[in-house]
């Protein structure tokens, strides 16, 4: 078949290909020209010269501008009709030490809600739909991201929406109540979930960084749902949503256009909603910097999950253990080494080896899961933050097997 294909291609290109017979490329044929004896590093004899696609000479650089008040704007242009812009803030559950934990969770749920320019989330989504766009907000332990993606000609709307979402949310009471309900449901679902990964990650962080920064809960604790009010959110935003804490990043747009729109919507046009009249949005004293402290420790919870299966087949009753050690921050020179270690340990569930390329030759599969059948899953994780990191291995097995060496 290969020979037929090559002959056809040669004929299409107008070349005559008489010298190669049908069988010359078959591995079964004896004699000189046996195709399997030719090194893969060399071209096959007699084939037409290949024409390679050229890399475009146009390369896109990353541009960074810092405005007077400390706001940084970065962009990289790319070919295409769509652009993505996001505002990233140094804000997250690790900064909530002086606040009731859970503010980031609230802000994530309330994101892109009512602002002075748009009545509610539906209006924002409709405005974005007109330019083929979507928006999302993600909060984590140390970053908060407001992002939107739309057609390039809709950049104006995107910037207006982002600036409103970050600086001018109004948090009306009905939305606050809806958010409280949603968070309570999420907490309940997390506890009922037979896959306890989210819960375990909370626990390992709490054990590793006891009572400080990174160990603070990322999911709003149940007792705080009714405690957090709009005032908490504004006080937090006043402290953390400052220009020196934020970066506006965009892909697929011209840098100058992004800078001028940022200047217009984030600084010139309107103030953040928590600033009184006459004040400028500027870098304040900022929140006191809090170095995360790895303390080590253990957190354990006993739970009866025997009734969570939805169908007639019972779910395997599993005990989960997460074992972790301090790794390094992503700024550290050793960070790459930890990433490589993570890849090499790999792992996953014992029923989903996946196949080649999905990690079935990683150490945790070869040395742990394949040898000890009673282990249901073993996975390695590497969390890297600004000033510290956590490398952990999560394993699960039937509770009776936990004591086995």
């Amino acid at each position: 078949m290969a020979t037929r294909l090559i002959s056809r291609v040669a004929r299409l290109r107008g070349q005559r290909f008489t010298k190669i017979s049908r069988r010359s490329l078959c591995s079964g044929k004896q004699g000189e020209g046996d195709v399997t004896s030719i090194s893969l590093a060399e071209k096959l004899p007699g084939l037409p010269a290949a024409k390679y696609a050229q890399a475009t000479s146009h390369s896109y650089d990353t541009h960074v501008t810092t405005l007077d008040n400390g706001l940084r704007i970065a962009s990289e242009n790319k070919f295409g009709q769509f652009c993505t812009v996001g505002v990233l803030l140094n804000s997250g559950s690790r900064y909530e030490s002086a606040y009731p934990s859970g503010i980031i969770h609230f802000m994530e749920k309330l994101s892109f809600g009512s602002t002075p320019s748009w009545e509610d989330k539906d209006k924002i989504l409709q405005a974005l739909e007109k330019v083929g766009g979507i928006c999302d907000c993600q909060g984590s332990r140390d970053t908060l991201v407001y992002a939107a993606s739309a057609r390039t000609n809709g950049l104006d709307v995107v910037m207006k929406i982002l600036s409103d979402a970050m600086l001018r949310p109004t948090f009306p009471d009905d939305q606050m109540d809806d958010t409280r309900q949603a968070i309570l449901f999420e907490i309940e679902a997390m506890h009922m979930d037979p896959n306890p990964e989210m819960l375990l990650m909370e626990m390992i962080h709490k054990a590793a960084y006891s009572n400080n920064s990174l160990g603070l809960p990322r999911i709003c604790p149940e007792e705080n749902v009714s405690v957090i009010t709009r005032d908490h959110l504004y006080t937090y935003m006043r402290e953390h949503h400052t220009p020196d804490n934020a970066v506006i990043a965009g892909v697929g747009i011209e840098h100058d256009k992004l800078v001028s729109l940022a200047q217009r919507y984030f600084i010139d046009d309107k103030r953040p909603v928590w600033l009184p009249e006459g004040e400028q949005w500027s870098a304040g004293a900022g929140p006191p910097k809090c170095t995360s402290q790895y303390t080590g420790g253990i957190v354990q919870v006993e739970k009866d999950l025997s009734n969570v299966s939805l169908g007639p087949t019972p779910m395997p009753e599993l005990a989960h253990i997460v074992f972790g050690l301090e790794s390094c921050s992503h700024k550290d020179p050793d960070f790459i080494a930890f990433c490589v270690l993570n890849m090499m340990l790999g792992g996953g569930g014992s029923f989903s080896a996946g196949g080649p390329g999905k990690g079935m030759y990683t150490r945790l599969y070869l040395n742990v899961l394949n040898r000890y059948v009673w282990i249901e899953s073993a996975t390695a994780y590497n969390h890297a933050y600004d000033d510290s990191g956590l490398f952990c291995i999560h394993a699960s097995a039937h509770p009776s097997k936990i004591r086995q060496p």
Partner: protein, 264 residues
Amino acid sequence: MICTTHFSQHACKLLSCKLFAKSARLTCCVKHSTFETLLSEENKLRTQQLLKDPTLYKQVPLNSGRSYAAILVPLCTVKGEPSLLYTLRSTRLTKHKGQVSFPGGNVDEKDPDIVFTALRETQEELGIHPSRFEIWGRMRPLPTGSSHKIVEPVVARLTGGDLDVSKLRLSPDEVEEAFTVSLKHLCNSANIGATRFRSDTSKPYTTPVFLGAPHRIWGFTAIVTHILLTFLAPDLYKFKVVHKKAVHHRHRHQASRGKIENDS
């Protein structure tokens, strides 16, 4: 040897309390000093005044059930630079294994006083004879939360020229490593951070942390280091531990539409 990392509100209130304002007044008449003069006779006498001042000395009431311990805060010279000597606790110990600490230990019944305990423990752990130390004074006893121990730091200067850490005879059961950190490094604000702790069982507090040394200095050891530096080098050590109070807002049931009321 003691190093504790959990604190009651006591120890951490000490860092930000008004007693320090008083010490600041006492030290404001000091001449501008440099790192070379920190261990000079003049600075030693001035520091000793602070260490002895009874008003700065909050007496912790003796309670039954509390045990006592002493640590030695050893000032030394390494390659001509004034430094502090720290130890890394061995992982063979049961408590606080692998953590950074000053040499020290529990008070034995036979010990005549706290200073004797500190020197005895230092000799056991680091092999330095007590006669090599010139005692400057004692810092106020500090309670430590979880174990209800009262720890009293004793400030001393190691005499006899430069210290070579590699020549110390360490006790392998108690000490993994001994290292020094220059006072210049500790006073550099780029190396100092602060961590705010918040727990369900005690009031929140903030402690300093010193980075960039062979090992991270945090917890109780960092607090003692911080207090010593404020006494010893008030015009060179400028770091202030800022504790952010918890933010409280009452839950308002009346909706205030669009209006924002800030209580700061």
